[in-house]
Amino acid sequence: MGVPLIETRGLKKYFKTSRGMLHAVEDINLKIQAGETLGVVGESGCGKSTLGRTILRLLPATAGEVLYNGENILTYKKHEMQKIHLNMQMIFQDPYSSLNPRMSIANIIAEPIKVCGTVTGRHAIEEKVEEIMDLCGLPKRYMNTYPHELDGGRRQRVGLARAMAVDPKFIVCDEPVSALDVSIQAQILNLLMDLQEQKGLSYMFITHDLCVVKHISSNIMVMYMGQVVEYASKEELFKNQLHPYTKALLSAIPTIDLSRRSRERHALTGEVTSPIEPAPGCRFAPRCPHASEKCREQSELREVSPGHYVSCVLCR
């Protein structure tokens, strides 16, 4: 394999809080090849959104590197940032707060084109907007409507169209379907997959929903309190999950498959706390059914089989 499209090395993001440093993203190493989707799964507060925003430089990283085609973009100066904007975009969770309510749909989609200057001339921009709207399944008649007139699914399409307007190579999708009803969710997921096929896009798909992630990802990264606990290809992860947290997460998902109704559950006790000044060692240990003294040692991500990484002392 060549140079990955996106790579992070030792990426960290800490926040200052009144009770100490919050280690929101701790030492993340990931690779996303062109045309691939990395699913990032975890519960609320595990740092998955922060990770996405740090990669896009919406938040300044505390330490580490983000490489785009092998170049560290965290050292880019302001004028070089244009490269990032043209290639890396983001779509958001909330279809209500992610669109400027005072702008018409056409303006929302045209704005990035104007700011980046990829297309100039009023006519050309208009054509480009129409093309993008068509690509995202938005009928032309919505051009002059406003976000409040559209439902959640269509708003989410507008959000996607805005990201697609500058023809990016990589999109961070932050829970893009969590706020939608299942029937609409399926439409958006299909659209994302179609676009990927047509344009060779790469996604980083952030979600709390393992079912969705299974559907759309090539690789999956499971996060817990800012750390990666398991990282493997989709097939491997669903066939042979090793980390106790991944197992618990999988078994906690309610399924419509009645044959799995009476399955053995690894129900977890306790709840996630925030990783403020965390002690070294496994952050999952306090909730882990298999925790032992050894878990207090510095835990690190180990490759247990080719391409399958786990951070647990139990999995040698």
Partner: protein
């Protein structure tokens, strides 16, 4: 009428909703939230009410307790009978004695459903204050301690305020509040939607335990078919304010015979065990509740739609407890 409530022989059907119509009169339009909604709940039954946003699930629960927003929400026709008592015409005093004791409700968002400035212990205790005025203070406190440990909260924390608890803990407190008077019927409105999956699993497990302990009938309102499959015995699928399919979880989730909408829901659900590369979305959007079509409200989105679907409302066709409200099943033998 009042005597029937103290009837020695209890009705088998705890709750019966017949052809209920509810509308919201807003400034701009009349929203038809429930349109001929019918549902029967037996004692000790766990029934799931599934549907998408705006299908009328919450409206149904609020109607049962007569807690629809004042002046805006209006029950236009139909009946709700609880244990033989006509709730729509019962006096306010009767409704007050019903709420919290016989029928209690859990709301969706545990973050906002607790009063932020009253200790959680006092909020639970209030239920006893309201309904058992003769109970001694010590007895009440004891009951609160018991129910708190039952839902997994150390009773020593009862003097803390809601903001000192996490989301999952708050939902446990809400459940404790709902169950302390040992109600016969629990209306749970999306009790786990705001929570993470691992916490959702804990809460569902807790509800299951408590349900079997108190033999409470539960109406679980959710948009998640998976939750229904795991928690409920029976299921009712709601679309545009009516139940369009109902039956045992086994019958409905067997996916052999379903309403086209239910079928569509199954097809567009990304599931762990499915391997389909693409999901099959339901085309279009839910019927506009301010302007409902004449015939079947699903007709516009239905792949099997025929001319009759646009002109006539379908009847519920029932086979041994499994009912489907669709013209497709019209010609087949009925009951």
């Amino acid at each position: 009428m009042r005597e029937s409530a103290v009837h020695a022989e209890k009705c088998e059907n705890l709750l019966e909703i017949q052809d209920l119509h509810v509308q919201y009169n807003t400034d701009d339009a009349v929203v038809h939230a429930l349109n001929g909604f019918s549902l029967t709940v037996n004692r000790g039954q766990k029934i799931g009410l599934v549907g998408e946003t705006g299908a009328g699930k919450t409206t149904c629960a609020l109607s049962i307790l007569r807690l629809l927003p004042d002046k805006v929400g209006q029950i236009t026709s139909g009946s709700i009978t609880y244990d033989g008592e006509d709730l729509l015409h019962a006096p306010t005093a009767y409704m007050l004695s019903l709420r919290g004791t016989k029928v209690s409700m859990i709301f969706q968002d545990p973050m906002t459903s607790l009063n932020p400035i009253i200790t959680v212990g006092d909020q639970i205790l209030e239920v006893l204050d309201l309904h058992y005025p003769d109970m001694s203070k010590e007895e009440k406190e004891k009951r609160v301690d018991e129910i708190l440990s039952l839902v997994g909260i150390p009773p020593s924390r009862k003097n803390e305020f809601p903001h000192q608890f996490s989301g999952g803990m708050k939902q446990r407190i809400v459940i404790a509040m709902a169950l302390i008077a040992e109600p016969e019927l629990l209306l749970a409105d999306e009790p786990t939607t705001a929570l993470d999956v691992t916490i959702q699993a804990q809460i569902l497990e807790l509800m299951k335990e408590l349900k079997s302990k108190f033999n409470t009938a539960v109406v679980l309102i959710t948009h998640d078919l998976g939750v229904v499959a795991e928690f409920c015995d029976d299921v009712a699928v709601v679309y545009a304010g009516e139940v369009i399919e109902s039956g045992s979880v086994e019958a409905v989730f067997a996916r052999e015979k379903n309403h086209p909408y239910t079928e569509g829901l199954f097809n567009c659900l990304p599931d762990l065990s499915s391997t389909a590369p693409r999901l099959i979305p339901i085309p279009g959007f839910m019927a506009d509740p301010t302007n409902l079509p004449e015939g079947c409200s699903f007709a516009d989105r239905c792949p099997y739609c025929r001319s009759i679907c646009r002109s006539e409302k379908p009847q519920m066709h029932v086979w041994g407890g499994h009912g489907i409200k669709c013209h497709l099943f019209g010609q087949k033998e009925v009951e």
